[in-house]
């Protein structure tokens, strides 16, 4: 039986775009997102290169469109647990984790989390800020409903509390409800599970977690964001002071076979340039130094953006590998690099690491479940790299976005539309090429 339904796994920009394209033409879409909100990484970014569009501003309307769409059933806090069948007729089981808050009732008012006594680091803010055990991951979260995180909730760990339940005036809290399973029949599946930020702690030479004022780029994105944990203030971990001199180190973990990430992440040259520009926009006296292997400014308007970074935002680009030490007197990071074979040192107030990006946790397991190939780094592999980049080896299952290959937002969007086109093609003919 041919079905015009499509399952999209992953609600980042790629998953959202694929869903919207299909739904806009009248197909029924199930969008399954593991986290409490859709939005993915793009929701965490402050601005986007090379236009400096406010990231959440341009994304939020899409998230709202997606959630409000008649033809899209958005299932957050859910995962796909089983797949059977063939192209045109897949049976999928979706596990809806218990969020313990009734989605249809909760208005996201926040009365509950004001009362919740538990504070844990907020993953969305790269753990730079705190959240409660009952929480909204971020202000523009879609759907705007709370989630109780069982791991940290004292009711689940110690057996009593339920303060949120008392605080909720509309009775949205559901402590007794367990996970649910949902069976779906779909014609096609699009996988768009995106990337994770690699934790650079093992690469000791960069000093992450050892030198206090070393941050990852994603941490920095949260920090300069007005809705982020510091309200948009750039602050040192050691003393809360604002830095005036920032060192950006590129290719941390990437292009490095020693750490099993010989590939290039494709976006880091640009995001570091962007972050340096934004830092200067925040404060006129900010100085930035970018230590790089090769500046890869290959997208539309990228090279022009970097040139502006140099001429208008005073960014200095230094072609060198770099490592980090700490000045114990003031916790300033010291960047060690070399110029023409000679070692140099530069003391800065803060270091930002452009860490490598890796496939999402669980990507391999999902690949197994779906019976599609991953390459040795864990990215989903296409059936035909040249002419069918969004097809996997299993007919009817398509891939889009960063889970497939390093790429920026517009590429992820184009590919997501592409995957939608392939799914539509499959479902309107049987003659899939």
């Amino acid at each position: 039986m041919e079905k015009k339904n499509v399952l999209v796994i992953g609600g980042g920009i790629a998953g959202i775009q694929a869903s919207l394209d299909l739904a806009d033409k009248g197909m029924q879409v199930y969008l399954v997102e593991r986290e409490p909100s859709i939005g993915g990484r793009m929701a965490q970014l402050d601005k986007t290169f090379p236009t400096n569009d406010c990231s959440i501003c341009i994304l939020a309307p899409k998230m709202a469109d997606c959630f409000g769409h008649d033809n899209i059933n958005v299932m957050t806090y859910s995962e796909v647990s089983e797949i059977a069948g063939d192209a045109g007729n897949y049976n999928a089981t979706v596990t809806r984790k218990a969020r313990h808050v009734n989605e249809d009732v909760c208005t996201g008012c926040g009365d509950c989390n004001a009362k919740c006594p538990v504070k844990v680091p907020n993953e969305f803010d790269m753990e730079l800020g705190m959240r409660k055990a009952i929480y909204l991951p971020f202000l523009q979260a879609v759907p705007r409903v709370m989630t109780i995180d069982e791991e940290n909730c004292i009711f689940y760990t110690k057996g009593k509390c339920r303060l949120c339940e008392k605080a909720c005036k509309i009775g949205a809290i559901e402590f007794d409800k367990g996970p649910e399973e949902l069976k779906l029949n779909v014609g096609s599946i699009i996988v768009a599970t995106g990337y994770d930020v690699w934790d650079p702690t093992p690469a000791k030479e960069y000093g992450y977690k050892k030198v206090q004022n070393v941050f990852t780029a994603m941490e920095f994105e949260r920090m300069i964001n007005a809705a982020g944990p510091t309200g948009g203030h750039i602050q040192r971990r050691s003393d809360g002071e604002r830095p005036k001199k920032i060192g950006f180190i590129q290719c941390v973990g990437s292009r490095n076979p020693q750490l099993d990430h010989p590939y290039c992440c494709s976006v880091c040259c640009m995001h570091s340039t962007k972050e340096a520009i934004l830092a200067r926009e925040h404060h006129d006296d900010m100085e930035s130094f970018i230590f790089y292997k090769d500046m890869r400014t290959f997208g539309k308007g990228f090279n022009e953006y970097m040139e502006r970074g140099k001429s208008e935002y005073g960014i200095t680009y230094i072609n060198s590998d770099a490592t980090v030490q700490e000045n114990p007197a003031n916790q300033n990071p010291i960047v060690v690099y070399d110029v023409a074979g000679k070692q140099e040192k530069m003391e800065v107030d803060m270091v930002i690491l452009a860490t490598t990006l890796v496939p999402r946790k669980g990507a391999k397991e999902l690949a197994k479940l779906l019976d599609i190939d991953v390459d040795e780094f864990g990215f989903y592999e296409s059936a035909d790299k040249l002419l069918n980049p969004v097809d996997t080896k299993r007919p009817g299952i398509f891939i889009a976005g960063y889970c497939h290959e390093p790429m920026d937002i517009p590429e992820a969007v184009a590919q997501a539309s592409g995957a939608a086109a392939r799914a539509a093609e499959l479902l309107s003919t049987k003659g899939v090429s």
Partner: protein, 634 residues
């Protein structure tokens, strides 16, 4: 709308947009001010009006305060109007009673250092919005039928891919190609780095599918001659082999590709037979015309790109350079004994300087890295390499290769997985990479009858010279010369880089701002085949949306003729670009709503002032503008 609106009740929502507005404009003060304006019964400020809670606040206020007009002062209507209009509609308010006031792009972001004035300007802008809102009227939208057929312009890899996808989705697709054959730029290439197979293999398979597909009408030797119409109903005249052919389609995809840029005279291009471009070299390889006795080959990347002429980086040339550098190595290693001997003779002397350079180029730790890398490689790290090995491809010698290949570069842009690994492999094969800075590029000259490249070795801090047999310039892709004409015909813009300009750089990469026209492939900007294909599918998806539905909802902004005033002078007919004006038996003007695009050209010329532009009436525009001229503080 049944609601009879006498006294407008206006609600104003002022957005902080985080600090984007709030950091420069005193948003709470602006919202307080809004409350003092006539007919405003509600005003509030939101951290993000477009977030769920902001939207809910709008809906609630419409219901609770009986609002009959909504104003949002935030970002730009060009991205956010549809969202807020939808929210109004969901709350039962005709969406044309919504007014957008831009206090971010047009205020907070451009007056970051003048916060008081920015606040005053925000107030003015809201006052103008209120003056306009009072005069707004509800509008109804009409549905316009969309023909389930598409015109794809350009029969390269992107155009063919898009056409096939649309055809397989069931849409009648017309594919036009200027040249006698399909295939596009791929016809000029030898092997592709993704497959290590001939380029012909890639396009020939596609051509077969295109030719066999009965939903595809294929026209070769064909260009677009003229185009009229609008989304859903485009009427095109094709020039097929010199003859006119009319077709009607619902949507259009632009896939006209790009050309190689040939900056005559740059590094001596065009002045010496052995100074060529990458495409020239690919052609040589393809036609088996590479000189057999090459001993030294130099590539120069970014030739005419990244500020040297063109501002942009052409994305693909580094990888294509690496591919061809390896090709030179591979061909030499397969060469006869003669070369091997020459190489042996010179190896000692060369080895010394090579070592020195190598060391300087690769920082110490990288030496170790590359050793490790080759160890892994022997274990067969990458699928691509395994495949190569299986096919029994000869592994080029690592030491003392027969040919010396130097790539002068400004950094190598081999992004992603495949390309970076290819670059690594080329370094293992001892392709030399010598970096230069744009201020001091290598110089090409003839010295003692020999091609000479003089350069400054950045790491050795010394002037150097070499005498390559062949110099290959990596020049950027550039827009085709006839694109300007096409862009005028389609009414879609070219960007500063002269490539076609998409509707939104981040989120609408394959749409044009004009409804019903889409783009893909290198017409959009430099891209490799994989990317061009992904975009082609993307464009096909976007084009298929209105065609699947069979209609689009037209905007309600059209012109309207007051027959009492019209004198039948036909001035409107003269100026209307869409032929949207017709005359009835009495000789009076009438607007064809489906054809009218709402530009207002007619309304502001009608000598009898008989034409009203809905939603942009004289009264509305005048009131809005005059509000700005009243003294502030009233």
């Amino acid at each position: 709308m049944a609601m009879e609106i006498k006294e407008p009740r206006i609600g104003v929502f002022v957005c902080h947009c985080g600090v984007n507005i709030g950091g420069f404009v005193d948003v709470p003060d602006v919202a307080e001010y809004a409350k003092t304006l006539p007919n405003v019964v509600h005003a509030e400020n939101n951290l993000y009006t477009c977030a769920d809670d902001g939207l809910t606040a709008i809906k609630n206020a419409i219901k609770e305060k009986n609002l009959t007009r909504v104003i949002v002062a935030s970002c730009t209507p060009r991205t956010h109007a549809p969202l807020f209009m939808r929210i109004c509609e969901e709350a039962g308010l005709n969406k044309y009673l919504f007014t957008f006031v831009n206090i971010r792009e047009h205020c907070s972001w451009v007056h970051m250092k003048e916060q008081e004035k920015a606040t005053a300007k925000s107030k003015d802008l809201i006052k103008m919005g209120v003056a306009r809102a009072v005069l707004l009227e509800p509008q109804e939208e009409v549905k316009i039928d969309v023909r389930p057929s598409s015109l794809v312009i350009g029969g390269g890899i992107a155009g063919m891919t898009a056409a096939l996808n649309l055809a397989n989705q069931g849409f009648e697709t017309h594919l036009i190609e200027k040249e006698p054959e399909l295939g596009g730029f791929l016809r000029k290439l030898s092997t592709l780095y993704q497959t290590q197979e001939s380029s012909a293999k890639a396009y020939e398979g596609l051509i077969k599918k295109v030719e066999a597909n009965d939903k595809i009408q294929l026209y070769k030797n064909t260009t677009l001659k003229s185009l009229t119409g609008y989304i859903g109903k485009y009427d095109a005249v094709l020039n097929v082999n010199g003859e006119d052919k009319e077709i009607g389609v619902g949507t259009i995809i632009v896939a006209t590709g790009a050309d190689e840029y040939r900056p005559k005279g740059l590094y001596g291009l065009g002045e010496h037979d052995n100074i060529i471009t990458l495409t020239d070299f690919e052609k040589m390889v393809k036609e088996d015309k590479v000189p057999a006795d090459l001993k030294s080959v130099a590539f120069i990347t970014c030739s005419g790109a990244r500020g040297q002429d063109k501002e942009y980086c052409s994305r693909i040339c580094c990888t294509v350079t690496v591919k061809n550098a390896m090709k030179v190595m591979e061909m030499a290693s397969k060469g006869g004994d003669a070369e091997a001997k020459v190489e042996e003779a010179s190896v000692d002397e060369k080895a010394v300087s090579d070592k020195e350079e190598e060391k300087a180029e690769e920082p110490e730790e990288e030496e170790g890295e590359s050793r490790r890398r080759s160890r892994r490689d022997r274990r067969g790290r990458r699928g691509g390499r395994r495949r190569g090995a299986e096919r029994g491809e000869e592994r080029p010698k690592e030491r003392g290769a027969a040919v010396d290949v130097t790539v002068f570069n400004r950094g190598i842009t081999t992004y992603g997985i495949e390309q970076e690994l290819l670059y690594n492999k080329s370094r293992e094969q001892r392709v030399k990479f010598v970096r230069f800075v744009p201020e001091n590029p290598p110089k090409v000259s003839m010295e003692d009858g020999k091609l000479t490249v003089s350069y400054y070795h950045e790491t050795l801090k010394a002037d150097r010279k070499m005498n390559p047999d062949l110099i290959i310039l990596a020049t950027p892709l550039t827009q085709r010369p006839d694109a300007q004409e096409l862009s005028k015909m389609l009414k879609v813009p070219l960007g500063r880089d002269e490539f076609f300009l998409e509707a939104h750089v981040k989120l609408r990469p394959v749409d044009f701002a004009t409804d019903g026209i889409f783009l893909c492939g290198t017409a959009h900007g430099p891209a490799n085949i994989t990317e061009a294909v992904a975009q082609a599918y993307g464009a096909a998806s976007r084009a298929s949306i209105p065609m699947s539905l069979g209609y689009v909802q037209a905007e309600a902004i059209v012109s309207y003729v007051d027959r009492e005033r019209c004198s039948g002078c036909k001035s409107c007919e003269v100026v209307c670009p869409y032929g949207a004006i017709q005359f009835d038996e009495e000789g009076l003007a009438e607007v064809i709503v489906a054809a009218c695009k709402g530009c207002g050209t007619c309304g502001s010329i009608c000598p009898e002032k008989a034409i009203t532009m809905t939603h942009y009436t004289d009264e509305q525009l005048t009131a809005e503008a005059l509000a700005a001229l009243e003294e502030v503080g009233t």
